[in-house]
């Protein structure tokens, strides 16, 4: 009983601190704090509480991203063809997909070491920043660290991530051609349906 009380208290504390760092005014601190908290959270995974830890990771990570902007970046020019409702639906589905990728990657690589570089590359009069980091994977025969770059922009709620690149390949724009092909073939609604189907398929597979 005490234990449960304690863990819910910890979860509460995490939520409080996560909203504190979400308003951080330095892009490097945003990434550094976020990475540290997610990694700390993952250490609590003891094999039995995986689902719970995943949910907490999600709750911690989601406010750090701007999914609307990410979706627009992924879709590219086709974004303008979409009505506000379609844009909303696209963002919703793309967010589901990305969040799932994020949490399962993080759970897969728990014990990872993240080294966030102090000097971000600023653009657009300091309103955009690319923060570089090097990630060393545990238990891997590749000891070479993987470089992961985050592109953030400044909002009233602090810095928000809208692009992530692994070794220079963007995890967002990698979808551009796939999305465009689908929009050209069956319109924006076709793309929404495709993403819905994809999410449903992954969910079904995950629960099996």
């Amino acid at each position: 009983m005490m234990k449960r009380l304690l863990s819910s208290f910890c979860a509460l504390m995490l939520l409080v601190s996560s909203s504190a760092f979400a308003a951080s005014d330095s892009p490097v601190e945003t990434i550094r704090d976020g990475a540290r908290q997610v990694l700390d959270l993952l250490k609590q995974d003891n094999g039995k509480n995986t689902r719970q830890v995943r949910q907490q990771v999600e709750a911690l990570a989601v406010p750090q991203f701007d999914f609307q902007r990410m979706t627009a970046l992924a879709v590219g020019r086709g974004w303008r063809q979409a009505t506000p409702e379609q844009q909303q639906q696209l963002s919703q589905e793309f967010q589901t997909l990305l969040v799932r990728i994020y949490t399962s990657t993080m759970t897969r690589y728990k014990g990872t070491q993240v080294d966030v570089k102090p000097n971000p590359i600023l653009a657009n009069n300091g309103r955009e920043a690319t923060v570089k980091s090097e990630v060393t994977l545990p238990n891997s025969s590749d000891k070479k660290p993987v470089s992961i770059d985050y592109t953030l922009y400044k909002t009233a709620q602090g810095w928000k991530i809208y692009n992530v690149s692994v070794e220079g390949a963007s995890l967002v724009t990698v979808y551009r051609n796939q999305f465009n092909d689908e929009i050209n073939k069956s319109g924006v609604d076709g793309l929404i349906k495709m993403l819905k189907d994809k999410n449903a398929a992954v969910t079904a597979k995950g629960n099996a």
């Binding site: 909203s19 020019r77 303008r80 025969s141 709620q157 796939q178 993403l195």
Partner: protein, 286 residues
Amino acid sequence: MSRPIRTLTAAAALLLAGCANTGHPPNPQDPYESYNRTMFSINDGLDRTVIKPAAQGYRFITPQPIRTGISNFFDNFRDIYSAANNLLRGHAEDTLNDIMRVALNSTFGLGGLLDIADPAGLKNNKTSLGDTFASWGWKNSNYLVMPFFGPSTVRDGTGLTVMLAVKGPEHLVYHDVKGGPYIFWGMYGLSTRERMLDVTNAVDEAAVDRYSYIRDGYMQLRAQQVGAPLPKPSDNGLNDMDIDELVAPTGAGNASAPAGEVAKPAAPAVKQPAASAPAAEPAPAH
């Protein structure tokens, strides 16, 4: 090199000729798309039925330290090729680095089973013949799916084929063992595939169309590695800088919103500029 590879290459050439003008509409970013997709699905079938299960079995029965040793052993041979390529590129320092790696790992590293060069500060900077071609000026090359080896470009595939045709140092290891080449290359393939398992699982989860996800990811990655401009997406443009035209920066009106809920309030703020954007700019061409 060995006969199976030559047969595969010949088969690929035939396929390339056969599929050159069927199926998909031409994509300027991927002129061999119909051949590539065919080869991709052949590779994929082989992977699903044989290679991936074998790699999973290999992971299941061998402990991590042994797998690392085996992977280091093959890595040591790749360092020899890397040294040769850095020499061809005229990168003296990297050549020396690679030679020192091989020397250290082959001796104190027990024939390459241990990678002691890495902790000793000799960086792992594998350079392939494709990289050499790129540094000679062949920066842009079209996407090409190689039989068996998967994602590549015409440049990197040419490099790989040349490398496989050369009787390399690994020949000394297996030349008097019966079936030596098959064991050597089979084990190399298994070890490589095992190391890729996590990546391919992540791709399966992420990709909507796996062919184009792998292609576009690979092409971005390679462009970055060889210092070529990033490939243009098929919608012909939109740099990261233009993103403000598509989605106005959010949050001007909701400074008071609790930080935890930013993802949702962001949506309404975007509606206006997104709706008015088409009026400001000419409609996108198709």
